[in-house]
Amino acid sequence: MSWRAELLAVWAVVVRNALMASRNVFFFFELLFWPIVGVLSIGLMTRFLHLTPEQASFVLIGTIALSVVNVCQLEVAYAVLLDVWSKSLKHQFLAPIGIRHLTLGSWLVGMARGGALFLLLAALGWWAFDFRVLAPGWLPVAVFVLGCFLNAWIVGVFVCALITLFGNRAEAFAWASVNLVLVLAGLYYPVSVLPEPVATVAAAIPLTYFLDAYRAHFGFAPEFRAPIAAGLALSAVYAALAHWCFFAALQRARRTGLLLKMSE
């Protein structure tokens, strides 16, 4: 496949996902309603508990990361989910499209939505709770947001693999597993408070490292050495693994006929 054809296939997915996102009320709730409710309720809780500004920052960083990762990974999962819901999966995979086009195209839309959401929540946190999420400067912010996006990509591709492997039945499990991953990454607490075996699992999640690195800019001692390098390396490994799983699941769906069943 030529570079032009590769880019066009990715662009096709970008346009499709963006059009779908712009036309559904459901997407509005995902992008705005729930994340805003999340930041407001957690922010108010930090006031009620009289947390120090540092502690409040710690918790709010986790809240914002949760929303950004959720919105972006949902968009990646839509690479398959939209076609499963509309029963058009066979048309998609009859065309010369690879899983790389699907995941990359939907990730680009996810990053656009996640980026917009990050800025919105940062503004809300600043206005409502005097939380200056952009204070560490553009580079740490960019690395932190990139870390969130990479995690979202990985989780979204794993969700695509699960749905392609088990069909619609896997949807609920897929969403639950996403939240489990996010909880283990130490969203609202340092991973050192987790029991030992769970802390080991947390250390295997890339988001843990990006949260750790970003919180260091707010005065919290880092728990890991070279967290950004570790987070990026882990992300690369998981991204490759997730894509391999998705590819294998698709091959299996072609073998078992699930691809056709999900289109009927």
Binding site: L8, V15, P96
Partner: protein, 311 residues
């Protein structure tokens, strides 16, 4: 030159986790389709038509056998093959919020079209499939017939060399069906496209197909041109007579007459060979003083062949 060369293809589906049941969908099917031909796959529900079509279109992998489509092995070279074929289904589904033009545009981009070239192709297909008035209508708001026209437009977006049509006129109004059939015939005539279609409508198969393969229980029972199949099944020819007096009980006993039945005022005699038996029948009727007011001779309908094979 063959567009499709499938040999001894088998496919079994497994269902259930703990006590899996196995259903053999294809049992050693072999099929060759010359380039530029229209071939119909006919058979009762669950015969394996869609399974075979899906294997040929790379949507399903066969358990065993070899399948070469447009010179590509469907298992090893599917990615390159997909650029050269396409498919339309009689029960189409696309993303509900996308508009007609956007759906065709999405698939056009996947096949490498962009900019002015893409816009021109979308315009052409919208006009060809008579969708101009619905260009900006969301897919979920279209009628069944319009959805099928969108599916047909989408299936032509890459100007495929090989087109699979799965029940292309299912649920369409008769006038729309006629237009779709005409359009399918035009595609072959004007572009030399190879078309493989499944259908339940015998008339459609009779009218469109150069060759028909009857599939039942995962095996091809018979194949040939519609005429060959009718002869192959040996259903006999039908001599329909309008007589005065209308009832002639001894007609069924005449040599060469297989059976007689009264259908809407006509006596339909199924004979082994119409050319040979018609003069004898007319002589016998004349000798008995029966007046022959009208005569029609026809080959059996493809539908009768289907019923015979599906029995």
């Amino acid at each position: 030159m063959l567009a499709i060369d499938a040999r001894d293809v088998t496919k079994t589906f497994k269902s259930g986790w703990f006590r899996p049941t196995r259903t053999a969908a294809l049992r050693g099917v072999s099929l060759t389709v010359p380039r530029g031909a229209i071939v119909g796959l006919l058979g009762p529900n669950g015969a394996g038509k869609t399974t075979l079509l899906s294997i040929l279109a790379t949507l399903l992998t066969p358990d065993s056998g070899s399948v070469t489509v447009l010179g590509h092995d469907v298992a090893r070279d599917a990615a390159r093959l997909r650029r050269r074929l396409n498919m339309a289904s009689g029960r189409p589904s696309f993303l509900w919020s996308l508009r007609v033009g956007e759906i065709i545009g999405f698939y056009g981009r996947l096949y490498g079209l962009s900019g002015r070239q893409l816009r021109r192709r979308v315009d052409e297909l919208i006009e060809l499939c008579e969708l101009s008035a619905h260009r900006r209508t969301p897919y979920s708001e279209l009628s069944t017939g319009l959805k099928q026209r969108v599916a047909l437009a989408k299936s032509l977006v890459n100007d495929p060399e090989l087109l699979f049509l799965d029940e292309p006129t299912l649920g369409l109004d008769p006038d729309v069906s006629v237009r779709v059939r005409r359009h399918i015939a035009d595609l072959r005539r004007e572009r030399g496209m190879t078309i493989v279609l499944t259908t339940h409508y015998m008339r459609e198969a009779d009218e469109l197909c150069d060759e028909i393969a009857f599939i039942k229980a995962g095996a091809i029972l018979a194949r040939g041109t519609p005429g060959e199949l009718k002869r192959q099944i040996r259903l006999g020819d039908v001599i329909a007579l309008r007589l005065d007096p209308p009832a002639v009980p001894w007609l069924a006993e005449t040599p060469g007459v297989l059976r007689c039945a009264e259908v809407a005022g006509w006596i339909e005699c199924t004979v082994d060979d119409a050319e040979k038996r018609l003069p004898d029948l007319l002589r016998a009727l004349h000798a008995e003083g029966v007046v022959v007011r009208n005569i029609r001779v026809r080959e059996p309908e493809l539908e009768e062949v289907f019923v015979e094979l599906a029995r």
